[in-house]
Symmetry: C2
Subunit: 254 residues, 2 copies
DNA sequence: TAATTTTCATTTGTGTACAATCGTTGTTCT
DNA sequence: AGAACAACGATTGTACACAAATGAAAATTA
């Protein structure tokens, strides 16, 4: 169900590419939960800090807590949810330091990804990348920003698949959802984050076969993403003190 | 228990550094199993391809299968064991392609790690690194090659901890055990793989503060490791055809 | 005898029940 | 009135039992 939905929106079954080494871990049931929660995060339907209660999820998806637990365990290993010993699972809220770290790691990983992908770029692969970006553009133009943002992530993951490096791909499959949470926390309202034009640019540079230029193009793209975020002051949605900081008699720090 | 053993042999509780973000995921019980299996792999007491039956592990460690299952799930996410839907868990056997890929990723990751670690290197940190290598050297000199190899991995992980990049650190904590399995499969008997001298060299270069030189030193170190392995022909321990390939009437390929 | 089918033992997947823990609320005492 | 304390409810941790699936051995048939 969840995967069908994804296939319908992305126009192609990206899941087949995404989970060659993940599907091994579980059977079929928690895969759905895992994907569903992940999609909700990528679509910004689930926000950083949200508590994921096992019973509720079990109810919603009509599965037992055993299945829920496995899905949550996978998400926690991906550093997308945070599990505390007797306190359950919550979606992570990356602080500014962590956000910078994740974006920094992406620059390193994706430099190598785009270099290898350029080396291996066939006309078919380039066409597939273009289709992916066109899909992203179409969704954004239809004001479906949630799906657009998710498809934006799919572009980066597809690129990592084309690099044929499953290790780097698995890293990116964790980093992309984490980035989605960072965007949710630190996006500035005025800017349009969906920079599909830059995705087109990257593909165009890749088509020339100039790997160094492609790497530079990707670096620029990721830097733009970081620049559009407000990483200067700590956000604390859920922190009542921060939310009502304007009220008089603020209790200093903490 | 498992961690105490580790502390006794490494002379320092590295576990405290290693698990700041892992411990969150589980309570305390499966942590022991996870660490114990990981240590066994790092010590080469568990070989690639070994089947890990849930009931047996539950018996050995006197826990329920629920706990075993969680530990195995974590190991499978680390790509250290392979879980097939109804066929249980086995320790992975990286093929040549995968081995090269993992070593390649290590070069990328550790270049950044050693660069950052050099930037942040305090005299105390350098002393700690030297203690770590001295410990490694002592164990190798006492013919305790299993522990020596494990401590060799600890050096790299300690370095990643000093880089203060928890994302890269978590990658390395997966890559080091994977490398241990690669060494187990592809090591050449004549060579001595425990190159603690090169570890000393890296620390010395770091002490000069020349980050680029430190990166080069690390790259050289990892290249030496790869050179010492026999990655030219596929190994298949467990594949009887490969083991008895010299016998007449070999059934062609496969 | 060789191939196919059937049976069975082993192992894993899933659900549920019970125990333990934590946070919150309400109470009591100073 | 404020703070410490106690009890409750809600949520998670663990174990066990049963169902499903797999692989191999045994039996049947040609």
């Amino acid at each position: 169900m969840g995967k069908n939905t994804k296939a319908a929106t992305s126009g192609r079954e990206l899941g087949d590419i995404l989970h060659p080494s993940e599907k091994q871990a579980s059977q079929t049931q928690d895969e759905r939960l895992y994907t569903e929660i992940l999609d909700a995060i990528l679509d910004h339907r689930l926000s950083p800090g949200v508590k994921l209660k096992e019973d509720e999820l079990a109810d919603i998806f009509s599965v037992s807590r055993t299945v829920v637990r496995r899905a949550l365990l996978r998400l926690s290993h991906d550093r997308i949810v945070d599990m505390q010993p007797n306190r359950g699972a919550t979606i992570i809220r990356p602080d500014v330091r962590k956000a910078r770290e994740i974006l920094g790691v992406r620059k390193i990983i994706e430099a190598e990804v785009v270099r290898e992908a350029t080396r291996r770029a066939t006309p078919e692969a380039l066409a597939e990348l273009r289709r992916c970006v066109e899909n992203e553009r179409d969704h954004v133009q239809r004001q479906q920003h949630g799906a657009g943002l998710r498809l934006s992530g799919d572009f980066h993951i597809l690129l990592s698949a084309l690099s044929e490096n499953s290790t780097l791909q698995s890293y990116l499959m964790e980093l992309v959802p984490q980035t989605s949470l960072i965007i949710a926390m630190y996006q500035t309202p005025q800017h349009d984050l969906c920079s599909h034009q830059e995705h087109f640019d990257i593909v165009d540079v890749m088509a020339t076969g100039d790997a160094d230029a492609a790497v530079a193009s990707m670096a620029e793209h990721l830097q733009h993403l970081e620049d559009k975020l407000d990483l200067d002051n700590e956000r604390s949605p859920g922190d009542l003190y921060a939310a009502f900081a304007h009220v008089k008699s603020a209790k200093s720090t903490k």
